[in-house]
Amino acid sequence: MHEISELMTKDHRSCDDFLAVVEKAVTDQNWQLAQAEFPRFRDALLNHFEAEESILFPLFEKRTGMYQGPTQVMRGEHVQMRQLLAAAEAALAEREADDYNGNAETLLIMMQQHNVKEENILYPMCDQQLADQLDALLPELQKQLAG
């Protein structure tokens, strides 16, 4: 009954873990490691957005008829997070620790408040609305999340 919630929530946590690895490297001033690890975080986050925007949200919108509802808000927040991601990546390339930390912290808070909304409200609604489509939906989501 909670397959979509479980899959997507697990992916949120793994994005967090990748971000934590970069933060640790920046704190240790290990710029080489930070720059090597950042793409893993960036790709995981972008794959997650893509899975939602191209697979999960359209199905949900079609099923419920809610095209201007929560999914629209989530898309808007994805745009903001993509901008923060780009700003953090630019700061990392310049090896600007303060700038990187500020952008990454803002991104983290933005991500977490976004995740709370999805995990508490949107995913449970998807679980409810899309229960009959899991067989096709889950493998497709897994494939997109894996990149």
């Binding site: 967090d16 873990d17 934590a20 933060e23 640790k24 920046v26 704190t27 240790d28 809610m66 509802g69 929560p70 629209q72 808000v73 808007g76 745009v79 903001q80 901008q83 923060l84 700003a87 303060d98 700038d99 930390n101 500020g102 952008n103 912290e105 803002t106 983290l108 808070i109 933005m110 977490q112 408040q113 995740n115 709370v116 909304k117 508490n120 409200i121 449970p124 609604m125």
Partner: protein
């Protein structure tokens, strides 16, 4: 269901900020009261000055921060939007702030009229908030521990305020009520039924997410607020009925549950994946350590009569819980909430064409850290003042004053930053939209 569909309606920036800015003003008043009344304040927890100080912190500081934070988090965690947030915030903030001033004046002068007016204003303000929040939460299913905790905490707040109003009306002796007993039940509901239940509901979300720790175990988070409220109800009944063989055990069970929450939070925090501890995390840790110390002291005083008879221990417990526990965690949270809200509102103003500086630029990091050090010193001096009032009351009052003036300064800096950046963004947007016209 309708409430679930529109979680884009974050309240306007001024709505929560109004509450957050009022809070340090009351802590400054508490510090001034401490300096004015001197060491006598610590003679017992029942002195007028001690009661006034307690309510300046609980109603003036804590209640303001908690109402403002709730206004902000209800749409995020529960998809519950409060209708007309700006109007509600203005009315509730003004009523509770004026009520808190009257209540403190009441305790200092024992004028029944001041208590009655305070009861009307605080009772009315909080009732308005509960109706607004209750209406927003109506029909939202309690799908997790946080949503359930938020709802239960509103119940705790309702009982606390009803008992407070009753006490304020009865304080002149016109109603034949057992005032001491009612006071301890009022205090139990305020500390545990409202404050701890709300704090835990918020912690279940923010500790794992912002500090990147493992989640609270399901068996704990799922049962915590219910268990605590059930114990509180049973204890209130046992205490009112005079069942002395039962009520201390129920109270001890509630204190142990709170200690377990604090210990678990510290244990989770020690497994944080964050590379650095920032001011918010230090504040959380201090708050949980203070809560553990307050619980340990309470249990020790209840077990050993020689300690329980001393007048210092309730004051020590109070300082640890209020200044060490609740105030610390709230200031720590303000240092994340306020910069993020400022950034988020500026980001929306920029409409994706102008980008504000990141949230760490909103309040300078060294200002946060120095304020935090001042708060730590104030807490240590307050604890010392309870034990040696002649020596430490004035230094404690000065430290409390400094720490909260600094907090106010930091919050005002965030507002100045918002205003400056808003101007920059508006100017840039005007240029951007004017440029194509000029080109033509």
């Amino acid at each position: 269901m309708q409430a679930l569909l529109s979680f884009d309606q974050a309240p306007p920036l001024a709505a929560p900020l109004r509450f957050f800015l009022t809070a340090p003003l009351f802590a400054i008043l508490a510090a001034l009261l401490l300096l004015w009344s001197g060491p006598d304040l610590f003679a017992s927890r029942w002195t007028g000055a001690a009661l006034a100080l307690t309510h300046l912190i609980t109603v003036g500081f804590m209640l303001q921060v908690m109402l403002g934070a709730m206004l902000q988090i209800l749409p995020v965690v529960a998809g519950a939007n409060i209708a007309r947030p700006q109007l509600l915030a203005t009315l509730v903030n003004a009523a509770v702030a004026t009520g808190a001033l009257l209540l403190a004046s009441g305790f200092l002068s024992y004028q029944p009229l001041l208590f009655e007016l305070a009861a009307v204003l605080i009772g009315g303000g909080v009732a308005l908030f509960i109706v607004g929040a209750g209406h927003a939460l109506y029909g939202v299913p309690s799908t997790n521990a946080t949503i359930r905790g938020l709802k239960l905490s509103l119940l705790g707040l309702t009982v606390t305020i009803c008992l407070g109003v009753l006490l304020a009306v009865a304080i002149d002796g016109s109603l034949a009520l057992p005032l001491m007993q009612l006071t301890s039940i009022h205090l139990g509901w305020g500390f545990v039924g409202w404050s701890v239940v709300l704090l835990a509901a918020v912690a279940f979300v923010v500790v794992p997410m912002f500090q990147m720790t493992p989640a609270y175990p399901e068996w704990f988070a799922g049962r915590f607020s219910w268990t605590l409220l059930t114990l509180l109800v049973l204890w209130s009944v046992a205490d009112s009925a005079g069942w002395q063989c039962l009520s201390p055990w129920l109270a001890a069970a509630a204190v142990l549950a709170i200690a377990a929450f604090a210990a678990l939070t510290l244990q989770l925090q020690s497994r944080s994946k964050r590379a650095r501890f920032d001011a918010t995390q230090h504040y959380w840790r201090l708050a949980m350590l203070s809560t553990l110390a307050a619980c340990a002291l309470w249990l020790a005083a209840s077990s050993w009569p020689s300690l329980g008879e001393r007048s210092e221990w309730p004051l020590l417990c109070g300082v640890l819980a209020l200044f060490g526990g609740f105030m610390s965690v709230m200031i720590g949270m303000l240092y994340k909430i306020v910069p993020f809200l400022v950034w988020s509102h500026l980001q929306n103003l920029g409409r994706g064409r102008v980008f504000p500086p990141n949230m760490n630029k909103v309040i300078a990091g060294h200002q946060l850290n120095r304020q935090m050090q001042a708060h730590f010193v104030a807490l240590a001096l307050l604890l010392a003042a309870v034990l040696w009032p002649e020596w430490f009351t004035y230094p404690a009052g000065l430290a409390l004053l400094a720490a909260n003036a600094w907090l106010l300064r930091n919050l005002l800096a965030a507002i100045t930053f918002y205003r400056q950046q808003r101007l920059t963004i508006e100017e840039t947007l005007t240029h951007v939209s004017a440029a194509p016209a000029e080109a033509r």
